[in-house]
């Protein structure tokens, strides 16, 4: 008897209570899903921005190391070959990796960093050539093999301000207003690598990595 009476007292929830509760639950669920979507998008943008910034830093660091170890090739007076470097194209005599050399990374060669612009997108290209003699590279484009150079893309479409990639310090003049120096006149190189999202992308990010390198093994002048 007592069990039956207790069961009879359990009246449960009314329909109104259930509807209100379910409505509130659905609203909370949608809010959570919305927040999750926002967080996911933000995380994706952050991941891409971080990856682009890491790539920019890695390339700047690599370029700095290459220039610090810049050598003076036969027939040259400085690590930068005779000729006029531009603000988007720089060639440095360095030691490069080669599978056929005496040891990896210890082969005399040349490294080129340049910007390739196609439409509204710019990419950072790295060219490498083994050998002491300087032979001018061809166009700044992945796959170009002029004079034994090999080129590859290291920043695909995310490079910004490609005409401000490098600046040069000489004894006579410093700054963008100066005429471009010849290679042997360059005493230090400034690097400004700006990366951002590709045009038309939904997410947006931008970052600028700066550095500078002085040539300490310049010949007497």
């Amino acid at each position: 008897m007592s069990v039956r009476r207790v069961a009879a007292d359990e009246r449960g929830f009314t329909l109104i209570e259930m509807l209100v509760t379910m409505t509130l639950g659905v609203m909370v669920l949608f809010a959570i899903l919305g927040a999750f979507e926002v967080f996911s998008t933000s995380a994706a943008v952050t991941d891409k921005a971080t990856a682009a910034q890491d790539a920019a830093r890695a390339n700047v660091r690599n370029l700095v190391v290459i220039m610090r170890q810049g050598r003076v090739a036969t027939g040259q007076t400085t690590p930068i070959p005779a000729g006029t470097p531009t603000r988007s194209d720089l060639v440095v005599a360095a030691y490069v990796s080669s599978a056929t050399g005496p040891s990896p990374g210890a082969v005399m060669g040349w490294v080129r960093y340049c910007a390739e612009t196609t439409g509204s997108q710019s990419s950072l290209i790295v060219g490498v050539r083994a050998g002491d003699a300087y032979l001018a590279p061809g166009t700044c484009s992945a796959g170009d093999t002029t004079n034994g150079w090999s080129h590859a893309v290291v920043l695909d479409g995310t490079l910004q301000n490609p005409t401000r990639l490098f600046d040069y310090t000489t004894s006579a003049c410093t700054g963008a207003a100066c005429p471009l120096p010849s290679g042997p006149e360059v005493q230090s190189v400034g690097i400004r690598l700006a990366v951002a999202t590709k045009p038309g992308a939904d997410e947006t990010f931008n970052s600028v990595v700066r550095d500078a390198v002085s040539f300490r093994n310049r010949s007497s002048s």
């Binding site: 600046d167 700054g175 002085s214 007497s220 002048s221």
Partner: protein, 302 residues
């Protein structure tokens, strides 16, 4: 209905206490977040400041390599010609898109060691204004008892805020001083002090030798007793006795000897420049911050 009547709910006191606790905890959390945001902002600014200082040191090391001179101080402050500090400023902001200001050189301090001349300018990076200032002094190697002595040497006090210490002439010109090195009473310790008074003119002093010839020969003169002067100063060895030995042969001999000295000084004397860079900024709350980096920049012909 009876069940509903039994629901007494919370009292006003209970609600107020609970609400107060909730507000306090929320405010504490918000304060924590605010402090974290401020700290993050200052940390980002500090990262940029350190990068600026490092870039500054690197670009400073890109000065003239073989000519022994202090490339970092801007002694020719009165000149309209851009000095090393101006070139550094331009190098730090090559496209002039970061609103950098002009270099503000300070007056050299007399009688202090080392003689440093702080120079500063401001520049923008990521919506923050940074004040970049640096001090530099140079130490010279000795080559055949000759060393380069500029106005801002690390180990020598300035006696003239414009043109430097020691025997001075007009800023921008060249002069020769004969100064005791460590023992003024012992003639054997005398060294020839190539008193180079103009940073920008040192190149011409050492490469175009005529002004230096003139300065040295005028200092020694032709009417004094050269033999007695030679004996009293240096004896049989040393630079000055060789120089005077050549001078005995006439003015041409003096110039030949000085030419050798000048060539040796240019090609054989290395220098080390001590550089201290300070980058200061003000955070969003108005609090000042600053970081410093220092480096030794070696220039030589090794």
């Amino acid at each position: 209905m009876r069940g509903l009547a039994d629901e007494q709910g919370f009292t006003v006191i209970e609600v107020l206490v609970a609400a107060t606790l909730l507000v306090v905890s929320v405010l504490a959390t918000l304060s924590l977040l605010d402090n974290a945001t401020k700290t993050t902002g200052v940390t980002k600014q500090r990262d940029v400041a350190n990068a600026v200082a490092q870039e500054m040191i690197e670009r400073s090391a890109g000065g003239r390599y073989t000519l022994a001179r202090n490339d970092l101080t801007d002694v020719d402050v009165a000149s309209a010609q851009p000095g090393p500090a101006d070139r550094l400023r331009a190098a730090m902001d090559p496209d002039v898109d970061q609103a950098s200001t002009a270099v503000t050189p300070a007056t050299p301090t007399s009688g202090t060691l080392p003689v440093n001349v702080p120079q500063s300018w401001t520049m923008q990076r990521k919506n923050t204004t940074y004040t970049v200032s640096y001090r530099a002094c140079t130490s010279s190697d000795a080559y055949q008892q000759v060393y380069i002595a500029g106005p801002f040497d690390c180990g020598r006090a300035s006696t003239n805020p414009t043109s430097g210490g020691g025997t001075t002439t007009t800023a921008g010109g060249c002069g020769l001083g004969v100064a005791p090195a460590s023992n003024a009473g012992n003639p054997s310790t005398l060294i020839v002090n190539l008193q180079v008074l103009g940073i920008t003119s040192l190149s011409s002093c050492l490469s175009t030798t005529a002004p230096l010839f003139t300065a040295i020969c005028n200092l020694l003169g032709t009417s004094v007793s050269l033999s007695s002067l030679q004996a009293s100063l240096l004896g049989s060895r040393g630079l000055l006795s060789n120089m005077l030995g050549g001078l005995i042969g006439g003015q041409v001999g003096c110039q030949n000897q000085v030419a050798q000295v000048a060539a040796g000084a240019r090609n054989g004397i290395g220098t080390s420049t001590r550089l201290a860079v300070t980058v200061g900024w003000t955070d969003l709350q108005g609090a000042p911050h600053a970081i410093s980096q220092s480096s030794l920049i070696r220039r030589g012909t090794v």
